[in-house]
């Protein structure tokens, strides 16, 4: 398994932060979705981000992955790469994978074909036309499908999977992309309790070789992740720390946990 999910340069001594946001602001029609947001994710970290609806979680993801450009502020990947200069495809190829809130897989292709498309490699038109799969690549695909627990579904259409299975398939697609940083948006939404716990375990497993940022609402899931938590509110950081510490913070209780 480790051969699949290992990414290069991960433990390099000189890298201070995998992802660094400083003073990021973005407004839509005068509404500040993100307001002077600062965030520092170190290499190898597993970070949970929580916050009420409208706290700016999705906009933050959009800014990191190049879908939205911030009005001001710094967004740095691996200390020095300025992400605001790139678009989605560039950023994906730089090594940032994103899982959407709604499971987004290619429903008319099989599980195997979905993973094959996501598999790291050149993304040019010509290569895709002439592409021949090596046995090494085929092994990788099989390995990842096994990791996310979809082995028996390998040749089924992704559209026929259950909600939870689609979420796992999408996570598998992220892993074969070989990213250093994984952004996971509400992976437990709509899952059964059992599936939620399995997903938490899967993410912890993935975290052994990847930096992972998870946005989530489900408190049981956050507890199961057992990681540092950042609470967002009105576009900026309200509190940061261990879940026990954060949940004792009166401001946090007021805006989020109390409800």
């Amino acid at each position: 398994m480790s051969a699949v999910v290992k990414s290069p340069g991960f433990h390099s001594a000189e890298m201070q932060s995998m992802l660094y946001l400083n003073g990021v602001t973005k407004s839509f029609d005068g509404f500040k979705a993100i307001n002077n947001l600062s965030l520092d994710i170190s290499p190898g970290e597993l970070r949970a981000i929580i916050g009420p609806n409208g706290a700016g979680k999705s906009t933050m993801m959009d800014i990191i992955t190049g879908k939205t450009r911030p009005d001001s502020g710094e967004v740095k990947f691996r200390d020095s790469i300025d992400l605001t200069q790139y678009d989605e495809a560039d950023i994906a190829n730089l090594g940032i994978g994103r899982k959407f809130q709604k499971p987004t897989v290619i429903e008319t292709l099989t599980v195997w074909e979905n993973v094959e498309l996501a598999l790291a490699g050149t993304r040019s038109v010509l290569r895709a036309l002439l592409h021949k799969l090596s046995s090494e690549q085929a092994d990788k695909i099989d390995e990842v499908i096994k990791l996310v627990g979809l082995k028996v579904k390998t040749n089924d259409l992704a559209g026929s999977l259950s909600h939870g299975q689609k979420q796992w398939l999408e996570i598998g697609m992220l892993i074969v992309q070989g990213p250093e940083l994984l952004l996971v948006d509400e992976p437990a939404a709509g899952m059964t309790d059992h599936e939620t716990m399995e997903t938490a375990a899967l993410l912890k497993e993935i975290n052994k070789d990847h930096t992972v940022v998870v946005v989530e609402h489900d408190m049981d899931f956050i507890k199961a992740l057992d990681s540092k938590v950042t609470v967002l509110h009105e576009g900026s950081v309200l509190a940061e720390g261990r879940l026990e510490v954060v949940s004792a913070n009166p401001r946090v209780i007021e805006v989020y946990l109390g409800r």
């Binding site: 879908k67 495809a89 290619i106 498309l117 895709a128």
Partner: protein, 386 residues
């Protein structure tokens, strides 16, 4: 017969081995390519097996439409680009061919001017516009048949896909594109014959366009082109590239976040499709004997979409079946009840959208599945009875 082992080992063979409907389609195309000309040329006129020339021309026309439908299915069925302007690429290919045929007329025109086509003499032009240079040469003209639609598709696609124009907005600007070209080609000073277009063609490569043999050869070439284009399209959609197209169709932003440059993938398939449409136009013009700005009409482009929708989108052979079936119906009904054809076409589109979302091909597949299910359930009972 082709040696089976060789067939299975060749790239095309492997492709068709996984595509049963495609094998039938290609076999059928190759069969009509041989049989129809033979029945036209060799059978005596009174014979039961004789196919009159007008039918050969009509079938040739259907095949050109089938090629055009294939081109549209490639972009719409597999990449979700609903182009309502594919008629423009078809017409441009047709004009490039028409320009060559005009130059072939030489001094046999009404005005007997070897230097200028008749309509230019009529407009008191004294010399050939620069963009007509080179069209005397057959190979140059054939190159332009592919290049002109490809260039338009490239420029248009580059701008549209880079700006992420998708869905209904893209459809609308493709309509605008073909309408703009319609208006432009209507103008006499564009130098393409204005509203009369290009016509009065005499011969192609020295062979008279009126002769049955030439018509049969053009028919056979059309059938062959559809077969080759089908294989090309099948190769494209069966490759990893084709799966990326499907991914773009079903989840465009997911595909972007996987690191694929969606605009490049769209642009490539759009250009290939435009070239196929241009070739269809070039085959069409010598068979019908005229090309005029009417071919740029927005309705024409919408009709192509109806052919593909009725045949079955995203299947390739469905596009061929749809184009031939709808055009056959059109020939019949415009003859029998000319007033109702447009209503019928509209009704067909509504019915196919409501009740046959997967077109004729979808219905056939459904029936086959049901039969297979029935067979599967009834076989054990029969076994028990006997």
């Amino acid at each position: 017969m082709i040696n089976k082992a060789i067939f299975e080992r060749s790239a095309v063979g492997r492709l068709l081995l996984a595509d049963k409907a495609g094998r039938y389609l290609i076999t059928g195309l190759l069969a009509v390519m041989v049989v129809v000309p033979l029945c036209n040329l060799l059978m005596p006129a009174g014979s039961f097996l004789h196919i009159p020339t007008y039918i050969v021309v009509l079938l040739g026309k259907y095949l050109c439409y089938a090629l055009l439908a294939l081109a549209l299915d490639l972009v719409w069925g597999y990449c979700g680009i609903l182009s309502l302007g594919h008629g423009a690429f078809f017409a441009l290919g047709g004009y490039a061919m028409g320009m060559h045929l005009m130059r072939q007329i030489g001094e046999r025109g009404v005005y007997g001017n070897a230097e200028l086509p008749d309509f230019m003499v009529f407009l008191n032009w004294t010399e050939l516009p620069w963009y007509w240079y080179g069209f005397d040469n057959f190979f140059f003209a054939m190159f332009m048949v592919a290049l002109v639609p490809a260039a338009l598709a490239f420029v248009f696609g580059w701008l549209a896909f880079r700006s992420r124009v998708t869905g209904v907005y893209l459809s609308i600007i493709t309509q605008a594109m073909t309408y703009a070209l319609l208006l432009a080609f209507f103008r006499n000073d564009m130098g393409f014959g204005g509203n009369n277009g290009l016509t009065d063609f005499k011969d192609i490569l020295g062979f008279s366009l009126q002769s049955d043999v030439t018509r049969c050869v053009l028919f056979a070439l059309s059938a062959l082109s559809v077969a080759l284009a089908y294989i090309l399209c099948r190769a494209i959609v069966s490759s990893k590239y084709g799966r990326v197209l499907v991914a773009i169709r079903d989840a465009e932003s997911r595909t972007r976040f996987m690191g694929y440059r969606v605009e490049h993938f769209k642009l490539f398939v759009f250009v290939v499709s435009a070239i196929l449409a241009g070739i269809a136009g070039a085959l069409y013009v010598p068979q019908v004997g005229i090309i005029n700005p009417g071919e740029f009409g927005p309705i024409n482009s919408i009709e192509i979409v109806i052919w593909v929708a009725i045949g079955g989108r995203g299947t390739l052979f469905g596009a061929v079946i749809g184009a031939i079936a709808v055009n056959y119906a059109k020939t019949y009904f415009t003859g029998a009840f000319p007033e109702v054809w447009l209503f019928m076409l509209g009704a067909l589109f509504v019915i196919s959208t409501l009740y046959l979302p997967k077109g004729i091909v979808g219905v056939v597949n459904q029936m086959r599945e049901r039969r297979a299910e029935r067979d599967a359930t009834s076989t054990p009972e029969q076994g028990a009875q006997s």
